[in-house]
């Protein structure tokens, strides 16, 4: 379909009462916000990303999806930064608790990257576990209409190909879009991934894709795979063999600020804390769930102290959880290869490089006791 068709998708979703959220340029980054038409998409922009570096760069073309992983992911729409869990009142006849009922917010996610789509699948395993389901996440997730945009132009910090999460989506979406751009044309290949996706597709102006279109899409996919900025080597030796006493942990701890940026931008980090508050009269109280980071000193607070006091142990917890113990817990990796943690780390720590170093066997330090 043409650009008109794409705009029809956005407008039809809006007409059906959905808030359409899509990528936009704002404050010098590409982030997500409500859009009313495709005019608001980041036409002609791509990103220059590297360890601790993010710049918007003009492409000189009118490609819509020339960027890779924008600064924010989609997790905050399903798992908000702050969620009120209970409200309580203390009256003469006792304490009464009210549980706010989560509202379904009818949204559409427009222009989701494959890595971010995979991240939703990862969070599903956490929050939709039948043994303990998060009501807010469940209600919002069930309703969200997802339009994925396959990546033609992976960024310098991207490694979704290593993680098997991209650059093109396989399943779990309502509609999947690939922008087909060359000297001759600027069109969009759209596929339906669900019944409601197919139904919407039937409503908008489009023509059936030909072999040339599919060929061009395949070429774009292969080129994207070949142009990944980074890769995660994790088969040899297997990640599970990472040594918690490897000297590299001390090395990265010297650089890490424990600022927690990585956990904030990561699309799969899910840790939270709770905050209790009361009004001045102590007659009413609220309990709120708030995003938290395993990098905070208080994260492991127990009996007046913390278990993980050193930056080293906190960084180690984050990395080993994301790439190793997540497998034990959820039968998958916690990492989708979006590269945001590399881009948004103020000191540019690159977990692909850290893993490569940690996977190398290390020399035991000399214990001869002789002075060097």
């Amino acid at each position: 379909m043409s650009l008109t068709g794409m705009d029809e998708i956005v407008r039809t979703l809006r007409d059906r009462g959905r808030t359409v959220l899509g990528p936009v340029v704002r404050d010098g980054v590409i982030t997500h916000a409500e859009i009313e038409s495709v005019d608001e998409l980041p036409t002609g922009w791509t990103e220059d990303q590297d360890g601790g570096r993010y710049r918007l760069v003009a492409t000189g073309s009118d490609e819509f999806f020339a960027f890779s992983a924008p600064s924010s992911s989609w997790k905050r729409y399903l798992y908000p930064e702050r969620t009120v869990l209970i409200r309580a009142k203390r009256a003469s006849d006792g304490i009464k608790i009210e549980t706010p009922v989560p509202e379904a917010s009818s949204v559409a996610f427009f222009g989701v990257r494959s890595c971010d789509l995979a991240a939703l699948g990862v969070l599903d395993q956490v929050f939709l576990d039948p043994a303990a389901t998060d009501p807010t996440y469940a209600i919002r997730r069930a309703d969200a209409f997802i339009v994925v945009a396959a990546c033609n132009n992976p960024g310098n910090t991207c490694f979704c190909a290593s993680m098997g999460t991209g650059p093109s989506p396989e399943a779990g979406y309502d509609l999947a879009v690939r922008e087909l751009v060359d000297e001759n044309r600027h069109e969009f290949l759209v596929a339906a991934g669900s019944e409601r996706g197919a139904e919407l597709l039937a409503e908008v102006t489009s023509s059936k894709a030909g072999d040339v279109d599919l060929e061009q899409a395949r070429t774009a996919h292969d080129r994207a795979v070949a142009n990944m900025g980074r890769q995660l080597s994790h088969k040899d030796p297997p990640l599970a063999a990472l040594d918690p006493n490897h000297p590299r942990w001390d090395d990265v701890a010297q650089r890490c600020l424990a600022c927690g940026n990585c956990t904030m931008v990561c699309p799969t980090c899910f840790c939270s804390t709770t905050e209790d508050s009361t009004d001045l009269t102590l007659a009413s109280a609220e309990r709120t769930r708030v995003w938290d980071s395993c990098f905070s000193l208080d994260f492991t607070h127990l009996h007046g102290g913390s278990v993980r006091t050193e930056t080293k142990s906190r960084y180690r917890q984050w990395l080993l959880h994301k790439l190793v113990t997540w497998h034990d817990q959820f039968d998958m990796s916690g990492c989708v290869g979006c590269g945001r943690c590399i881009t948004w780390c103020p000191v540019g720590i690159d977990l692909t490089a850290e893993i490569a170093a940690l996977a190398r066997p290390h020399q035991q330090p000399e214990r001869s006791g002789e002075a060097k």
Binding site: L302, H303, G304, G305
Partner: protein, 154 residues
């Protein structure tokens, strides 16, 4: 009526020791009995004997000016009372008092030290066993020192 040698062979400290060695040590030993609250050892007095406890319980104590005597450890059946006999200055570090009626085999330290000088193999065997005993005691004492159950302990 068991011989000293038999009693020694039953005590964990000498488990597995050859009968000849047991006989040698038994030559320095005799049966003793303490009544409840009997004083057994006194701090700084000559350490010229040690005891293999068979029945009962002995408290190791240290006298303190303000808090009175404090029990720092109790020694029970199968355990040993007294290690200061092994090395100079051969003086007791603590007081010891029988908490319950206690039976033990008392070994004359000077007698045993002489026998160890004459028979280094026996000496080595004895010191090995006592080293293990002291190591265990050090370990458990260190655990006591860190005040495991205190408010901030984890």
């Amino acid at each position: 009526m068991k011989s000293i040698s038999d009693l020694l062979s039953e005590h964990p400290l000498f488990a597995g020791l050859a009968p000849e060695a047991l006989e040698l040590i038994a030559g320095c030993g005799k049966n003793v009995h303490f009544g409840q609250d009997d004083r057994i050892l006194v701090e700084n007095e000559p350490a010229d004997v040690f005891y293999l406890i068979r029945v009962g319980r002995v408290a190791l104590e240290v006298a303190t000016p303000r808090r009175g005597p404090l029990v720092i450890e109790t020694v029970g059946p199968g355990e040993v009372l007294g290690v200061s006999w092994m090395l100079p200055p051969y003086r007791w570090s603590f007081d010891a008092r029988a908490v319950d009626s206690t039976r033990a085999v008392a070994i004359d330290a000077a007698c045993l030290r002489d026998k160890c000088d004459e028979d280094p193999t026996l000496g080595y065997e004895l010191f090995k066993r006592f080293a293990g005993l002291v190591r265990n005691r050090l370990q458990t004492t260190r655990l006591q020192l860190i005040d495991l159950y205190g408010n901030d302990a984890s």
